[in-house]
Symmetry: C5
Subunit: 89 residues, 5 copies
Amino acid sequence: MILGRVTGNVVASQKYRDYEATKLLIVQPIELDGSDWGEEVVAVDGVDAGPGDRVLLVQDGFAASMAAGKSMAAIDMAVIGVVDEVKFF
Amino acid sequence: MILGRVTGNVVASQKYRDYEATKLLIVQPIELDGSDWGEEVVAVDGVDAGPGDRVLLVQDGFAASMAAGKSMAAIDMAVIGVVDEVKFF
Amino acid sequence: MILGRVTGNVVASQKYRDYEATKLLIVQPIELDGSDWGEEVVAVDGVDAGPGDRVLLVQDGFAASMAAGKSMAAIDMAVIGVVDEVKFF
Amino acid sequence: MILGRVTGNVVASQKYRDYEATKLLIVQPIELDGSDWGEEVVAVDGVDAGPGDRVLLVQDGFAASMAAGKSMAAIDMAVIGVVDEVKFF
Amino acid sequence: MILGRVTGNVVASQKYRDYEATKLLIVQPIELDGSDWGEEVVAVDGVDAGPGDRVLLVQDGFAASMAAGKSMAAIDMAVIGVVDEVKFF
């Protein structure tokens, strides 16, 4: 998984049923030192993260749908933790 | 997941049975600000999206087949929502 | 999923049992306008495609094994449709 | 799968329940000759690896959650072995 | 899936239980004409391949674990066939 920083959210007409109560975040992928890399993505919020939070982001559809508390939802990216500290040995 | 814009559709001889009633869209991946990036892809339509709609696109085979209402279909990309608004904090 | 054009096949000693009756195609990924991109791949044939056919290619192991009529086979790419027409709105 | 070297760990507020007892490692992907490539990733520790260990890293959500002893956890990368020797024929 | 050539093996302390009897191969991805591309990977051996064999390589965790005869092992790449011939139409 990778780290990211919550930078916004997406409001969507969620016609597909498993999405109805889901919160969608915009997450900027970041390096371990906090610097940005790559493009922002849209992820389901599994931990009620807030603006600016440094978060753990999983990228697999099957795993991510579990994090959102749904067994079969069409989700391919989810925020599953808020990071407190990154330590190098 | 990523955002996209519906730009066309694909008509296919769908010999594999799980595809028979499936609508296939051409979707151009877009940035959060609406600008294009990457190549257009073919995705199953899970929300009855129309021409020009800004949509949410999932990319996992297992998750995507769920969005299309099929538990085991051979699908690896699906449109699962129509986007109303993108907000940055 | 992406489009491709059937350009050859692969004959393999298929020691792993789920492969015994499987036909393997060489598929060149193509753009929506028919031009080539990327490298040719090996895919399981789920629709009995022929030489030169323009086909739909799924890329997920789990989904692809379903298209080949096997629930647990070790397959990560499959041809699941023959394309008749690509239309832009 | 690929090889990596354990270089640190991540402490996270793990609000999503399947993560509560999970140890998260920072792993630098390495070539077979031991040289670095790509960016460090965050992986669940399935084998109690230590600082500097050369490890085997799997990258699939479904498979990786199994390695962590959880059937449905939101995990997309896991350390599943410690490498003793790399041999070329 | 892609083609590869077996170039070595990896000996690992396999603390995660599903790995105990598994043989790990080093495989160099190759083009259809036999030339190398990309970096060598580590794959589970599903067909008892030998040094120098030209093989079929699947890259999905779920599918690959099936090829190794395990339903839930932490495997994301497996050798599932030995190639006899590549033919272009």
